[in-house]
């Protein structure tokens, strides 16, 4: 939701905070905004409105919140006295999905391109300017958060019907998108034309510069129906985004009045009907029992009862003191999100200020029964043992492209791509892909493991098992390590093995020690080079490794080994063969560093 600071100030004229302050304050009370920017000499905020605050998809709702926060008066446009005539619009409503509709016909209009202020307003909200009448409907939607439609009656006739579609198969939207209709779409039609969806106007009755007679309508529907229709037709519109939220039908008269006055002022014309108002089930808003002490109890700090009651009053709640104790609170119709005492408490706290809650009170230790599943202890213990044996832990994709057992495989219905649609049945599947990846990077002597879920289905039941998968480039070492771990493999496939953990004996308790080591994101192949070094005397190999490790920048040294020591008995010299792996550099650089480190460049130049 875009918010232009100067427009906000029309409703809150005494608002004087700097934009930076407004950004922080509005975020703290629940309407997150990362930043504001200056566009066309206007300060524009981009707000992330909570899905339960449909009222704040309009300036009016946001201004209400800010008027409470800053304790400033809200100034609304003066109400126009509408002198309607007696002509009753022949509108029919044949569905119970409509909560309220108000409509009015205006004739003798002179539509034209919008005035500059209006063009600028819609443009700053990323909406294309069309003409004055259309732009005004969008202006009112953005102001009040309730979508508005206008129908050119030369195209639609006066006889509008709100109905669940039963006969039309196709619909063309205002932007000429063609949609195939099904029979459960909420629509506004004339007897012989599909005119509009609940959330998207149609081309068949579009307002044009030539429009001289129009019906303007503002409606609120069953939000679930709008949401289903919008998903079904895969169409997201500004109107749909609002109509699928809980909107306030009682705000419609004010919005319609404001719209009418703006149309008469900017397009001329005269009102040519009485106001059509369909509001079959005006529901009472349930009162909520509220005890101000519960605010302090839930928050953990003392918040005076007077403050709570003052905030609720300023939010437009009806506050009635109960004879015994506590209050009965009736929220304003604008706030259908408030239904419980917890909601009222949140209202109080957000204006009290979350930042006033101390951050220093940590829960004190409490001895409670340990409900940790024992499998977690087994997993932690195995991880530590495998790490001690020199294995690296990896995590792999649980989605794979191959069904090992088609009878028990679980297939996802809407996977991330058309290849990886199966949930893995074995960790070996995933570890093989990891090995391929390591081979691409020429990682020497890989040995790694993963503990994760494998999946299958049997008799309509989905089964998850905890599994350990291990790879070692040396299969005899793998066998020996399994013996050390006292594990019997369920699957052995060349250098891979897999063990289902669920049936193994589990420790009663295992508290691992946090280990810290840095992982590396390989961005290029590891380069392995050999070097021979001839020495006059035998030197302890570990000292040689230490010495040459220090000669190479640790940012590129992956590993260093001595793979061979040869004693030339004739010359009594010792030849050491080093194998050094480099990373983070290309072939050329690795060779250069290698030659320098082992003094081979000088030997070569000789």
């Amino acid at each position: 939701m875009k918010l232009i600071y100067s427009e906000l100030k029309k409703i809150l004229p005494t608002l004087s905070v700097k934009p930076e302050q407004l950004r922080d304050d509005i975020t703290m009370i629940g309407h997150f905004t990362n930043y504001f920017e200056e566009i066309d000499s206007e300060i524009v905020f981009d707000l992330d409105i909570k899905v339960n605050r449909g009222d704040c998809l309009g300036y009016y709702g946001l201004a209400r919140d800010l008027s409470v926060f800053y304790n400033l008066p809200l100034v609304l446009p003066e109400e126009l006295k509408i002198s309607s005539n007696s002509f009753q619009l022949p509108i029919k409503v044949t569905t119970d999905k409509v909560k309220r509709i108000m409509a009015l016909k205006i004739s003798e209009l002179k539509n034209s391109p919008s005035p500059d202020w209006l063009q600028k307003f819609v443009k700053l909200h990323s909406i294309n300017s069309v003409n004055t009448l259309v732009d005004l409907t969008n202006y009112i939607m953005l102001l009040y958060g309730i979508p508005v439609h206008a129908f050119d009656t030369a195209l639609s006739q006066d006889k509008l019907i709100w109905e669940i579609n039963s006969k039309f198969t196709e619909f063309t939207s205002l932007d000429k998108t063609k949609l195939s209709l099904t029979k459960d779409i909420l629509m506004v039609n004339s007897p012989d034309k599909a005119l509009s969806l609940s959330f998207w106007g149609g081309e068949a009755c579009a307002i044009s510069p030539q429009t001289s007679n129009a019906i303007i309508e503002i409606a609120v529907y069953d939000r679930t129906t709008v949401r289903q229709n919008s998903r079904q037709l895969k169409s997201v519109t500004e109107a749909g985004t609002r109509l699928e939220k809980d909107l306030d039908p009682d705000l419609i008269p004010q919005a319609l009045n404001h719209l009418t006055s703006l149309i008469l002022k900017n397009c001329g014309g005269e009102i040519n009907s009485s106001i059509f108002d369909y509001y079959p089930n005006k529901s009472d808003i349930p009162s909520i029992e509220f005890n101000p002490q519960n605010v302090s109890l839930l928050v953990g700090i003392d918040i005076p009862a007077d403050f709570s009651i003052d905030i609720l009053n300023r939010l437009g709640c009806s506050v009635v003191k109960k004879p015994e104790s506590g209050f009965l609170i009736t929220p304003p119709s604008l706030r259908p999100d408030i239904t419980l005492e917890a909601d009222l408490i949140e209202e109080v706290i957000r204006f009290w200020g979350y930042q006033k809650i101390p951050t220093t009170q940590v829960l004190k230790y409490k001895k409670l029964p340990d409900i940790t599943p024992k499998i977690i202890y087994l997993i932690e213990e195995l991880k530590d043992k495998l790490v001690a044996l020199g294995y690296d832990e990896v995590l792999t994709w649980p989605l794979v492209n191959q069904a090992l057992n088609p009878k028990t495989i679980i297939t996802t219905q809407n996977s991330i791509n058309s290849e990886c649609i199966y949930l893995r049945q074995s960790l070996v599947q995933s570890l093989k892909q990891q090995l391929d990846q390591y081979r691409r990077f020429k990682l020497p002597q890989a040995q790694f493991f993963e503990i994760g879920k494998i999946f299958s289905q049997q008799n309509g039941q989905y089964i998850e098992k905890n599994s350990l998968g291990i790879y070692n480039h040396d299969s005899s070492q793998l066998t020996s390590d399994l013996e050390k771990l006292n594990l019997k493999a369920d699957i052995i496939e060349s250098n891979f093995t897999e063990i289902i953990l669920d049936d193994l004996p589990k420790p009663e308790l295992y508290i691992p020690v946090p280990l810290s080591s840095k992982a590396i994101e390989l961005t290029s192949q590891i380069i392995t080079l050999d070097a021979n070094l001839t020495l006059e005397e035998k030197i302890e190999s570990s000292k040689l490794i230490e010495k040459y490790s220090h000669l190479i920048d640790p940012k590129i040294l992956w590993s260093i080994q001595i793979t061979d020591i040869y004693h030339d008995t004739k010359l009594n010299k010792y030849r050491y063969t080093f194998r050094v792996s480099y990373y983070n550099c290309n072939d050329k650089i690795a060779k250069k560093i290698h030659l320098t480190a082992f003094n081979l460049d000088k030997i070569l130049s000789c």
């Binding site: 953990g300 951050t359 832990e393 996802t412 809407n414």
Partner: protein, 329 residues
């Protein structure tokens, strides 16, 4: 000669030294190239895939044999250090996500928390409805779900789903303190910044007299453990259907220290997760009386933090990617 005859020949040649096998079989004029170049186009089409598989088998075999020879020559210093072939001992490593999880588990264990887990294939009821997100609620748009069998079975989209199972299982054993790391799934395109599977960490407490002050104090401890004692965190009003009041923790941007930069999109703050007091409807759904018991829940993603800690730029690295560890450090 057909491919099977060639394979039999290879079996016989396996007794040779791997370097000789490499030369004989994979060299420019080796047996494989000679065999393939003698095939006609039709046979090449038919045998192409099998031929390539055979080639990979040979490559793998040679790799394995070479590494065996090398490893036989290398002595671990702890075993035979004085012998002639030396490398530093191979050190194993925990995945950085596990390291972060353990760091957090330790914090919570000290406060009397158990560690918990639950299935990854879950029902709509436990993933949404019990968390106060009924069918067709706009809050469902906050998460793109991967379905196993729509609409009933799906891959959990959040660790709050574990909370649903926990509350259901332990509703008669209150109070509870639990923390749970877990993988969660979303139908996201996999690229440098997004993945379909990522990691969250959540903590849940249900007891008598639990307050927002407890929540914020405990959460602050968690952030200080991860980010250091000087970290600045603000707590603001935020909406999550499963909590009321909801709390959104933001950390002051570690790059610009609140001045605003591209990393924090010039806000000076970075969103760190979500939390709040457990919604009375969520407690009721598990058969817990919200007039007697209150609780808090908070959760955060682990991937971004772990990436920042390890200087990892691409989220794909964390799973099945090019994440590796120096063997001797």
């Amino acid at each position: 000669m057909d491919l099977n005859t060639l394979k039999t020949q290879f079996e016989q040649d396996k007794q040779n030294h791997p370097e000789k096998i490499q030369l004989d079989w994979l060299g420019r004029n080796g047996k494989l190239n000679t065999f393939f170049s003698n095939l006609n186009i039709e046979d090449k089409k038919i045998l192409g895939q099998k031929f390539n598989q055979f080639k990979i088998e040979i490559e793998n075999y040679i790799d394995l044999q070479l590494s065996k020879i090398l490893d036989n020559a290398i002595k671990h210093p702890t075993k035979k250090f004085s012998q002639n072939i030396i490398s530093l001992p191979k050190v194993g490593h925990l995945h950085p996500i596990t390291q972060t999880e353990r760091q957090l588990n330790e914090v919570f264990r000290k406060l009397g928390f158990s560690i918990y887990s639950s299935p990854e294939i879950v029902t709509d009821e436990f993933n949404f409805t019990r968390l106060n997100v009924p069918q067709n609620h706009p809050a469902r748009d906050m998460q793109d779900t991967i379905y196993i069998k729509e609409p009933e079975y799906l891959l959990r989209t959040q660790t709050s789903t574990i909370e649903s199972y926990l509350l259901q299982a332990e509703s008669k054993n209150l109070p509870i303190r639990t923390a749970f790391p877990g993988s969660v799934y979303r139908n996201e395109k996999v690229n440098r910044s997004n993945h379909f599977v990522f990691h969250q960490y959540q903590a849940v407490v249900v007891d008598k007299g639990i307050t927002m002050k407890d929540l914020i104090g405990t959460m602050d401890l968690m952030f200080k453990t991860l980010y250091g004692s000087k970290v600045v965190v603000r707590y603001r009003c935020k909406y999550y259907p499963e909590v009321e009041p909801g709390v959104g923790p933001d950390m002051q941007c570690f790059s610009c220290h609140g001045r605003g930069c591209p990393l924090c999109k010039y806000a000076g703050w970075i969103e760190m997760g979500g939390s709040g007091m457990i919604h009375p409807k969520v407690l009721e759904a598990a058969g817990i009386d919200p007039k007697i018991w209150t609780g808090f829940a908070f959760g955060m993603g682990l991937d971004r933090w772990t990436m920042a800690q390890n200087d990892i730029k691409d989220i794909r690295t964390l799973r099945g990617g090019n994440l590796a560890y120096k063997p001797n450090l």
